[in-house]
């Protein structure tokens, strides 16, 4: 029982990590990034390639995450520029279509170039026992890393000037401009940060089980669901929503099996969205 709960929480944390990038980019840039899953895959595949080249797992992972971040940065500064010229729904639509096109490009390229590359990060000790429960080391590692990442993110948003600036842009981009804030530059920073979070989630998938190029679309879909349920602009909400969904997923998988679980998950998601469309945390960054 408890083991399932723990597993659910861990999976949930990973989902939240995937989704928080979507929340940040949407809240700050007004763009829904449909290539988000592909960025996670890029992080994972880069790590796998570096591992194969002989690098130490830790170094490979860090570089993999950084390369995901770099990709996000380039994306923001190049193909998204036309979208940023517009506001509101125009920008949203344009951004959606551009990132959708990008997702096809990345997916297609990775499918052809690295069809068999998969990232798996084995750990020295597969599991350890705490009291009466056996815990997978991978689960513990993922939980610790995800929690640390979120803790850092919250500390950044609440505690630093830059974080406050980010929150201000998310709450009122015009108001931020009136204070002399260059929201475009901050946005690029956040997009890069979000991409790194995605890359980190991708690498962690390699810790958990394995990550291959085909997981891109699935990642994006899950990230979108979690982000929308949590309230598509709220970082708190994303964290909570991810963990909740992770728990639902874990219990459903145990009792009902993989495919039906997915359906249950999606129906839960649909239900939440119908009942409370603005998300669980409407607007509390």
């Amino acid at each position: 029982m408890l083991a399932i709960l723990i597993d659910g929480i861990v999976q949930g944390l990973q989902l939240s990590l995937m989704a928080v990038g979507i929340t940040l980019i949407f809240g700050l840039g007004g763009v829904l990034n449909l290539a988000h899953g592909q960025i996670a895959v890029i992080g994972g595949i880069a790590t796998a390639l570096l591992l194969a080249a002989g690098l130490h797992p830790l170094l490979a992972s860090v570089l993999g995450v950084l390369s995901a971040g770099a990709f996000g940065l380039i994306m923001d500064r190049t193909i998204l520029v036309p979208a940023y010229r517009y506001q509101g729904e125009e920008r949203l639509l344009l951004g959606l279509l551009i990132t959708l096109g990008l997702s096809f490009v990345v997916n297609g390229f990775l499918d052809v170039r690295y069809p068999t590359v998969a990232l798996t990060l084995p750990l020295p000790t597969p599991s350890f026992t705490v009291g009466a429960i056996t815990v997978r080391t991978a689960s513990a590692a993922v939980a610790v890393i995800a929690l640390a990442a979120f803790a850092l993110l919250f500390a950044f948003l609440k505690g630093t000037l830059l974080g406050k600036v980010v929150r201000s842009i998310m709450q009122n981009e015009v108001g931020a401009g009136l204070c002399g804030i260059n929201s475009g530059r901050i946005r690029t920073l956040i997009v890069a940060l979000s991409a790194m979070m995605a890359g980190l989630a991708g690498v962690m998938q390699g810790l958990f089980s394995s990550l291959g190029t085909e997981l891109g679309n699935e990642f994006t879909s899950f990230a979108l669901i979690v982000a929308v349920i949590g309230g598509v602009r709220s970082v708190n909400g994303t964290l909570v929503a991810g963990v909740l969904l992770g728990i639902v997923n874990a219990y459903a998988s145990y009792y009902v099996g993989a495919y039906l679980t997915l359906l249950i998950l999606l129906v839960t998601a649909a239900g939440t969205i119908l009942v409370r469309p603005q998300g669980l945390f409407a607007f509390r960054t």
Binding site: Q171, L178, G180
Partner: protein, 236 residues
């Protein structure tokens, strides 16, 4: 007194429509100048153009001798022109204090002293400094917007219809604060529909109608102008 802010024959528009045409105005250092006119005359468009939020189709905007049209709006803030829009554009989920502090972004390190100045000017804000901006009343929000604008030590303050939606009591109160700021040497450009207040407070004023300047002159003279009295003061 030299001209601090000079607008020369500017044209501003959206898509195919020109909203402001051939508008020129001057604001000298330390002056308070008003822009009055009916709804849709183009006052907000004019202010946004000066603040760099809209591009010019023609003409120029000069500040302290140099052209600033074409500069990005956040650069213009750093240069010392702060725009306070009618919609206020506050950060609703941040406290009064956080809103004010962000107003000091261009000179963040020195914000403590400026904060004291603004809170002394608006004691109500000091009382509510921990309160979330979204929960303030209309009048308090307006004060916060103005206070936030003052935090970066602007040389020119562009106030767009500050009396919008405020009870008469609040309107008098903020105009008292404007007088105080004026006496301390702040240059103010003020757009208003509440003509009596605007004309009693400012030194000079321009009348904007349909995107063009129709009249200008000393505020006192304009107050006595028959046409102004008929159109804007409901007399005669």
């Amino acid at each position: 007194m030299s001209v601090l802010l000079g607008v020369a024959e500017i044209e501003v528009g959206y898509a195919d429509i020109a909203v402001v045409r051939g508008v020129s105005l001057d604001v000298r250092e330390g002056e308070s100048v008003g822009v009055i006119g009916p709804n849709g005359a183009g006052k907000t468009t004019l202010f946004k153009a000066i603040a760099g939020m809209l591009g010019l189709r023609g003409g120029s905007v000069r500040y302290a001798g140099a052209r600033i049209d074409g500069r990005r709006h956040y650069e213009i803030v750093r240069q010392g022109i702060v725009y306070v829009p009618a919609e206020r554009e506050l950060f609703p989920h941040m406290s009064v204090l956080e809103n004010l502090e962000l107003g000091a972004y261009p000179c963040y390190g020195a914000r403590a002293e400026r904060l004291k100045f603004v809170l002394d000017l608006f004691p109500r804000l000091r009382e509510r400094r921990k309160q979330l901006a979204g929960t303030l009343s209309g009048g308090e929000q307006q004060m916060l917007a103005i206070g936030r604008g003052l935090m970066s030590r602007p040389r020119v303050l562009l106030l767009d219809e500050p009396s919008t939606g405020l009870a008469p009591f609040f309107v008098s109160e903020i105009y008292r604060k404007f007088a105080q700021l004026k006496s301390e040497g702040l240059t103010i450009l003020l757009a208003e529909q509440q003509v009596p207040h605007a004309l009693s407070f400012t030194d000079r004023a321009y009348v904007l109608e349909n995107g063009r300047i129709r009249l200008s002159g000393n505020s006192r003279d304009l107050l006595g102008n028959a046409e102004i009295q008929r159109t804007y003061l409901g007399m005669g």
